[in-house]
């Protein structure tokens, strides 16, 4: 088995997609840390990162809104690949095999697997929820326009959606670390053919269908 290992690269994200992804990521960290500072006294110290409690309170909603706008662009770019199909439900039923890395026992996966698709919907819904509730509790500009009951409900709901989103992002980041070779998709824009073959076989086939036409094969 000494034949040399081939290195074929397939493009996964364009430079524009990568840029927008990292804008969303940075703003998420800002929004999450500044929000968490106000969520629990044990986390209030995080407000020091933003220049104190008052600045934390001022910056947070703006970071959230810009993040939501950026996310909407990213989501529009990937939405068509995130539609759930029959095979996806099968994939989810075999979540044990997924978690133990036995991918041979799973149905073929397209550009995104069922976990990624569900996470996509979790992000869309929780961010929409954060935006709506966030505006209702934005005392400086908007809260006075809403009845107090709505502000109270929105306060609780905002914390809930933030919780869901943060859990989702923990899963998202961990998956990127766990499945080796994923992060380069978002830093360099490409993945190895072996990675695509192993984790996203249907997408791989589709891709080499195109890659096979002369001139577009990477590397």
């Amino acid at each position: 088995m000494n034949e040399p290992v081939p290195r074929i690269l397939l493009e996964r994200y364009s430079a524009n997609e990568r840029t927008i992804h990292w804008i969303v990521a940075v703003l998420f960290v800002i929004a999450a840390l500044s929000g968490l500072a106000l969520f629990h006294p044990s986390l209030f110290a995080l407000s020091a990162l933003f220049g104190g409690g008052t600045w934390t309170r001022i910056l947070h909603p703006f970071a959230g809104v810009v993040m939501t706008v950026a996310f909407a662009l990213l989501a529009a770019a990937v939405a068509k690949d995130n539609v759930m199909r029959a095979a996806d439900w099968q994939w989810l039923r075999r979540i044990r095999q997924v978690l133990s890395g036995r991918e041979g026992e799973l149905p073929e996966v397209g550009r995104y697997n069922a976990g990624q698709k569900l996470l996509f919907f979790v992000m869309v819904i929780s961010l929409a929820g954060l935006l709506v509730t966030g505006i209702v509790i934005w005392r400086r500009y908007f809260s006075d326009a809403f009845p107090i009951g709505a502000v109270r409900l929105a306060s609780l709901a905002h914390a809930f959606f933030a919780f869901v989103l943060i859990l989702g992002i923990i899963v998202h980041v961990y998956a990127a670390i766990w499945v080796r070779g994923s992060i380069r998709a978002m830093t360099r824009g490409h993945v190895t053919a072996g990675w695509a073959f192993k984790h996203h076989r249907a997408w791989f086939r589709e891709k080499i269908g195109h890659a096979a036409s002369p001139g577009t094969r990477s590397d």
């Binding site: 290992v5 629990h40 890395g101 005392r139 400086r140 070779g181 053919a193 094969r217």
Partner: protein, 310 residues
């Protein structure tokens, strides 16, 4: 104000005990507002402005006596006038001095996310410490009486302090000092309740059989109380709430949600870590690359054949 006294019994967004080695021996205080004696002169509003050095915008007359129309960051107390026609067809002018009620269980303090921005002293006064206020407005969300106001000037929240500075020095609040009719009285809560009972008895003897004391249970009682001629219908007095309490939504948000939320996030992160050390990374092997390359090669050949076949 918080800097002057260390007799704080409750402190916002603080999970440890406030400085409190002395057992509180200070008797809880209360201001009693007797609506039946109030003539609506607003001396208390002026005294509040003077003592606290506040000057509200000069507005315009809106056709009612309320002036200003609502509490603001500059007006910590406002007289609210209501015209009520009783069963006999007589007009009753119900005047209520509105302002912070200094709840024993303050919703503002429960909701506040900034450590020490809202404190409660042993004497019962609930005070905002502007130094620590971050201006989020959560106190407004938490308050069952709609009292705190966010300032357009500095973005911080303001409300009546019950003249905590004067009280700490053994004096009555400025409004009480100024009241010409004795509608406002100040003392220990015990004394004020006793006085209020006498007033209620007197009112009953004059035909107000529903007269009573407003010291609502739902917020653990208040350190600002009313004597009302119509205790059975507090809403007559410009919507004084009948049964004020901290909203259940606020209680959940500021109660179980916080520790559960933090625990959930930490557990999720730790679960990821455990998964990694138990299962290990999911790697692409050299064999995967070789197989993939063969597939790419085959499809390239197929593609070439298709083009030549044409």
């Amino acid at each position: 104000m918080a800097l002057e006294s260390q007799d704080i019994v409750r402190r916002s967004a603080t999970t440890t005990k406030p400085p409190q080695v002395r057992r509180a021996r200070t008797a809880p205080v209360a201001k009693l507002i007797d609506t039946s004696k109030c003539i609506g002169c607003k001396a208390c509003q002026v005294a509040c402005m003077e003592w606290n050095d506040l000057r509200d915008e000069i507005g315009t007359c809106s056709g009612v006596y309320d002036n200003p129309l609502d509490l603001t960051e500059h007006s910590w107390t406002v007289m609210r006038f209501a015209e009520h026609e009783n069963e006999r067809g007589d007009l009753e002018w119900l005047i209520r001095k509105d302002g912070c009620m200094h709840c024993a269980e303050p919703g503002c303090l429960a909701a506040c996310p900034s450590p020490g921005a809202i404190v409660q002293y042993a004497n019962g006064i609930v005070d905002f410490d502007s130094e620590h206020c971050i201006g989020c407005g959560y106190c407004i969300t938490g308050c069952p009486f709609n009292i705190p106001r966010l300032s357009g000037v500095d973005g911080k929240a303001y409300k009546c302090t019950l003249c905590s500075d004067r009280v700490a020095a053994g004096r009555e609040p400025a409004c009480v000092k100024a009241c010409p009719t004795g509608a406002l009285v100040f003392g220990t809560k015990e004394d004020m309740l006793r006085h209020a009972e006498e007033r209620v008895e007197d009112l009953k003897s004059r035909g107000f059989e529903n007269a009573g004391i407003y010291d609502p249970e739902g917020v653990g009682g208040t350190h600002v109380m009313y004597v009302l001629h119509h205790r059975d219908r507090p809403e007559l007095y410009n919507d004084l709430p009948a049964d004020p309490k901290i909203s259940t939504l606020v209680k959940v948000w500021k109660g179980v949600a916080k520790p559960l939320g933090v625990a959930g996030m930490l557990l999720a992160a730790f679960a990821g870590f455990l998964h990694y050390i138990r299962v290990g990374p999911n790697e692409t092997t050299d064999d995967d690359e070789r197989e993939a390359a063969r597939a790419v090669g085959a499809s390239a050949v197929r593609a070439r054949r298709e083009t030549t076949d044409e």
